[in-house]
């Protein structure tokens, strides 16, 4: 099972864009690690204005945290994260300093 938890700040990522982002997260990730894109779970957590900070200031950063099957080679993991980053920036218009992407090994405990 591949899972993404996407934490976004209120007003930064429009709701009507989220299905496309979710679809691309699934497509790109299964392209690297295998699996069925339809079985990728994408959860959205929207942080209300005034509840998210970065560097002590109000945040505009989105965090895209993926859990993938364990054992991916680091070189491939970096390519995956870079692909996810490029897609997200392309679709949302955010900058590199407004995005955190992770691809963590899934813990089965």
């Amino acid at each position: 099972m591949i899972t993404f938890n996407c934490t976004v700040q209120e007003g930064i990522v429009p709701e009507d864009l989220r299905p496309r982002l979710a679809s691309e997260l699934a497509r790109i990730t299964t392209g690297f690690v295998g699996g069925n894109p339809d079985e990728v779970s994408v959860n959205w957590i929207e942080i209300p204005h005034g509840f998210g900070f970065r560097g002590g200031r109000l945040s505009t950063t989105s965090a895209v945290r993926g859990e993938i099957p364990p054992g991916l080679q680091q070189e491939t993991r970096v390519e995956l994260m870079k692909s996810l980053q490029d897609m997200w920036m392309d679709l949302t218009g955010c900058t590199t300093d407004e995005l955190v992407v992770s691809a963590r090994d899934r813990r089965d405990n």
């Binding site: 509840f51 998210g52 560097g55 002590g56 950063t61 970096v78 955190v100 992407v101 963590r104």
Partner: protein, 132 residues
Amino acid sequence: MPNYRCFIPKDALSFDQRQEIALAFTDIHCGSTGAPRSFVSVTFLETPEGQTHEHGQGYYLDGGNRAGRSEEVKQQLLSDLTQAFAKIANVPADDIPGRITENPASWTMEGGFVLPEPGQEGAEWYAAAAAD
């Protein structure tokens, strides 16, 4: 990273308190680890009365950091964060449980770069981080 999630009861903290806590956490984390300030995320998640969150009820500090620091550093960091939160929120520190979990830095890309392991940052990485 780091990413600090503060679970709080609904309407427990004003905006000014949340901002003050976020600044305090940034100061404490960067003072302890040397990390760039712009990398410190602090999020407040409210729990409506009568409901529970993933760690139970009431206040909870859930930190996620890069792996590789000593247990002593982690415990001191959590203690300092808890004390700061308690003072600003006017809540007894004993009522604020928390934890710091870790993941390998190489599993995260931030500011366009794969995060270096603690102690492996180097001048080039700090310069790039500061430019963001």
